[in-house]
C-alpha cells in the first residue's frame, strides 16, 4: 500500500524544477528563487501604475522575540518558513494559516554570536532541509514535518552553528558553517539528500600541507574562522557552487595571523560533485575590520568592455562591487558603491591598497564602513529587465578597537570591537548599480542603515524595508518611491514574491511577523 502511495505521489520538487524555476514564476523554490542568486521575480502583475494600491492581505505572527529573517519558499500554494530559534512551519499561501510545525528544542548552552536566527529552508523532491543553531542538518517530510534524517554537522559547543538556508542541488544539500567569532575553522559541506551522509567538505582555511596554509602565521590557521554563513549560488552548466566566506579570527587583532589568511573574506568556486576548489578570489586579504564576504553572489551574463562574459557579481560588505569571471575567477572590475576609508582603492588585480594606519587600535580608529559593512547578509537583487543590481546600503562609520585575544574553545575570540557612529550621522540607501560597470544609476535615501534586503520584479518594481518599519516599493528604473506601508517594527528581512490563485503576492518579515501584500 505504501509503495502504491509512493507511486501515486510524484516527487514535489525534483531538481529539474529548480533549474527551470523561470517556468513557474508563481513559486519560489530556493533561497534566492533561482540558483543564480539574482532574487528577481518574473511576476509582473504589480507595476509602477498600480503599486499604490498594495494592501496587507494576511499576517502570520511568531512567538519568539528573536529576529525573524526567513525567506519563505513557495511551492504550489504552500509557504515553508523558519521561525527563530529552530522551528520550521508550512503555511497556507492563501491565508497564512499553518499546516504543520516542526519545533526543535534548542540546547540552553548554544552560542550563536549574533542572535538566535535562521534564514530559511531548502526543498528537494519531497523533503525540506533546515540547518539548526546547534549545527545539525535536518531533513523533514514536506507533507507533515516529520524527521527523515538528522545529521550532526559540527560541535555546537565549540561555537559552530547553522543559520543559513541550505542550498539543495541535484541529490545534494550544501551548507556553510557559522561561528567566525569563536575561532572555529570554517567549512562548506555537501550531504546526500536522501541519506544525510556527508559527501564532501571544503575547509575554508587550508590545513597543514595544503596550498594557502602558508598564508597564516604559525598555528593561527587552526582558529582562523572564515565561516560561510550565507547561502551561495550554483551554475548547473559549469557544475560550480559559489560561496562567500567570512572574517578571519580573531576579528580585530590581525597581528597573530600574519599573511593573507586564505580563504577568508573570499568567494570560492567549488566543483559540486567533489567539493574541490576550482578557483578563489579574496576580496579583503588579512582583514582587520570584520568585512565578511558572505554576500549572496549573483551569476549574470553580459558584455563587459566589448566582451560577452559569464560573470559573478558581488556587492561586498567592504563597500566595493566586484565582477569576476565565474569560469576562471579572473578579476574583471571592482568599483565602490558606498563610502569607504579602509583602503586607498583597488589595484589592477582587484587587491585593496590597505592603509595600515587604519587598522583597529587600542584607542579606536575611525573607519568606513562600520563593522556591519556597506551591506550585510541580506540579499541584493539583479533585474535582467533593467540590467541593474539593487543593493541595500549602510552608510556608517565606526571606531575600531583592538585588544588581546586568547583562544578558549567555545568562547568569543574577537580581539576588539567597534563603537559605531549612530543617530543622524548614520544613514542608508537603496542604490541601483549598472550591473556591468558598477556605476551608480540612482539612490533612494533611507533614514538609517538598513537590515533589509531588496527584491526586484518583472513588473518594474524594487521592494525594500527600513529599520523604522517602512516597507516600500520603488520604480526599478528611477528609484522613485511609489508606495509604502508602516509595519511597526525594525525590519531584518529578505523579500520574496509568489503567486496564489493567479495573483501576485509580496512577502516580507518585520519584527515578529510575516506580512503578505497584494492588490485586493
Amino acid at each position: 500500500m505504501s509503495a502504491l502511495a509512493a507511486a501515486i505521489l510524484p516527487a514535489q520538487v525534483p531538481y529539474q524544477r529548480i533549474v527551470n524555476a523561470d517556468k513557474e514564476p508563481q513559486n519560489w523554490l530556493t533561497y534566492s528563487r533561482t540558483y543564480n542568486g539574482q532574487r528577481y521575480s518574473p511576476l509582473a502583475q504589480i507595476t509602477p501604475a498600480n503599486a499604490a494600491g498594495l494592501k496587507p492581505l494576511w499576517t502570520y505572527q511568531i512567538k519568539q522575540m528573536d529576529h525573524f529573517e526567513t525567506t519563505p519558499l513557495a511551492v504550489d500554494g504552500v509557504l515553508y518558513i523558519t521561525e527563530p530559534p529552530d522551528t520550521v512551519s508550512a503555511l497556507d499561501a492563501r491565508t497564512g494559516r499553518s499546516l504543520w510545525h516542526y519545533v526543535r528544542p534548542v540546547p540552553p548552552d548554544i552560542r550563536p554570536c549574533c542572535g538566535r536566527v535562521n534564514r530559511g529552508v531548502a526543498i528537494l523532491d519531497n523533503t525540506v532541509y533546515v540547518g539548526t543553531l546547534d549545527a545539525h542538518l535536518i531533513a523533514l517530510n514536506a507533507r507533515n514535518g516529520s524527521v527523515e534524517w538528522d545529521t550532526v554537522v559540527a560541535d555546537y559547543k565549540a561555537g559552530h552553528s547553522l543559520t543559513l538556508a541550505p542550498l539543495a542541488i541535484d541529490g545534494k544539500v550544501i551548507v556553510g558553517i557559522a561561528g567566525g567569532e569563536f575561532g572555529i575553522r570554517g567549512f562548506i559541506d555537501a550531504y546526500d539528500a536522501k541519506s544525510g551522509k556527508q559527501l564532501w567538505r571544503f575547509w575554508t582555511v587550508p590545513g597543514q600541507g595544503d596550498p594557502g596554509n602558508d598564508t597564516w602565521r604559525g598555528e593561527s590557521w587552526k582558529t582562523g574562522g572564515a565561516p560561510a554563513w550565507v547561502t551561495g549560488a550554483y551554475d548547473p552548466d559549469l557544475n560550480l557552487v559559489y560561496w562567500g566566506t567570512g572574517n578571519p579570527g580573531p576579528d580585530w587583532n590581525p597581528a597573530v595571523r600574519g599573511g593573507d589568511n586564505l580563504y577568508s573574506c573570499s568567494v570560492v568556486a567549488l566543483d559540486a560533485s567533489t567539493g574541490k576548489l576550482k578557483w578563489h578570489f579574496q576580496f579583503t586579504p588579512h582583514d582587520s575590520h570584520d568585512y565578511d564576504s558572505t554576500n549572496v553572489p549573483m551569476l549574470l551574463d553580459g558584455m563587459v568592455r566589448g566582451k560577452q562574459r559569464k560573470l559573478l557579481a558581488l556587492a561586498n560588505r567592504n563597500a566595493f562591487y566586484y565582477l569576476l569571471d565565474r569560469s576562471t575567477g579572473e578579476f574583471v572590475s571592482g568599483k565602490p558603491y558606498a563610502h569607504y576609508t579602509w583602503t586607498k582603492g583597488l589595484d589592477d588585480s582587484g587587491r585593496p591598497q590597505v592603509d595600515a594606519a587604519l587598522e583597529p587600535s587600542e584607542n579606536g580608529t575611525l573607519v568606513s564602513p562600520s563593522l556591519y559593512g556597506a551591506t550585510n547578509w541580506y540579499s541584493p537583487s539583479y533585474s535582467p529587465a533593467t540590467k541593474l543590481v539593487y543593493v541595500s546600503v549602510r552608510e556608517q562609520s565606526s571606531y575600531f578597537y583592538k585588544s588581546e585575544a586568547e583562544y578558549k574553545e567555545g568562547a568569543m575570540f574577537v580581539g576588539g570591537g567597534e563603537r559605531a557612529i549612530a543617530g543622524d550621522k548614520a544613514w542608508g540607501a537603496v542604490r541601483a548599480l549598472d550591473a556591468f560597470t558598477g556605476a551608480i544609476k540612482w539612490e533612494f535615501k533611507l533614514k538609517s542603515p538598513p537590515w533589509s534586503g531588496v527584491l526586484s520584479t518583472a513588473g518594474g518594481l524594487v521592494f525594500g524595508g527600513s529599520m523604522e518599519g517602512n516597507f516600500y516599493a520603488l520604480e526599478g528604473k528611477t528609484g522613485k518611491p511609489l508606495w509604502d506601508y508602516q509595519t511597526g517594527a525594525e525590519m531584518y528581512s529578505n523579500i520574496m514574491s509568489f503567486g496564489v490563485d493567479g495573483k501576485q503576492r509580496i512577502a516580507v518579515t518585520s519584527g515578529h511577523a510575516l506580512f503578505v501584500f497584494g492588490l485586493p
Partner: protein, 245 residues
Amino acid sequence: MFPTVLLLFFLAAQSNPAPAPPIDWAKAKRLFDANCAGCHGPEGAGGKGPALAVPILPHARTNEQLAGVIVGGIPGTLMPASWHLGNEGVMLAVAYVRKLGAGATPPKVEGDAAKGQALFAGKGGCTNCHSIGYGPDLSSIGSRRTAASLRESITDPAAEVLEDYLPVRIVTREGKMVQGMRVNEDTFTIQIMEPSGRFSSFRKDSLSKLDKRVGESPMPSYKAVFSENELRDVVAYLSSLRGEQ
C-alpha cells in the same frame, strides 16, 4: 558579524564565580583614560557624563549592573555601548570605577536648592517647557550631570545637545510653517512636538522644506536672566533631582 548579543556573554562572564585575577591597575587606568575619561573626567569627577567618584552610582549599584552599563550603554543618554572592551576590559573598567568611588564623599554643591526650585518655576519659566515634555525630562538630571555641566547647559544650552533632541522647522507644500522638536522620524514621515505640546505628523513628500537644526537648542541662554547667586541656586536644585533612588 553582528555582536549585540555579546552583552549576554559578558554579563554571564561577570557573574561567573571564578576567583578574580589580580588587577593590572596601570592597564586599567590606560583603558579608563582612553574610553571613559573624555566624559567622566580623568579622576572621575564628571563632565559631560556624571561623576563616577561617588559612593553610589544609581544605574550601577552592583558590579553586574555596572558591567551591563559599560557593555550596553544607557539608551537615550550619551553613554555609549562599549562591548569592544571585551571581558577583561570590562572587568578592569568596573574595578577602576569602583576604586574611584571608594571612600568618595558626595560632591558639595553650592547654592540653595529650595530657592532654585522657586526660580525654576517662577522667574526662569523653565516649567513652561520642561514640565510638558517639550524640553528634556529633568527628574533625575542631578544623577547624570555634574554641577558644572548643568551650569553650562543653562548659560549656553547649545554647547551640548543630545541627538534625541533635534529642533526642526518645516514648510508644507501649502506654505504652512511648523517649528518644534522632532519626536520621531522614518524614511517617509516625521512627527513633531510644537512648543505648545501639540503633536503633528507629516509625510515628507508633502513638505517643501525640512530643516533639521542640528546642534541648535530651542532653549534660550539664562546668562543674562539669572544673577550669579540665582544660577547657583538653580544648579543646586537641579543637582538635587535624582529620580527614584
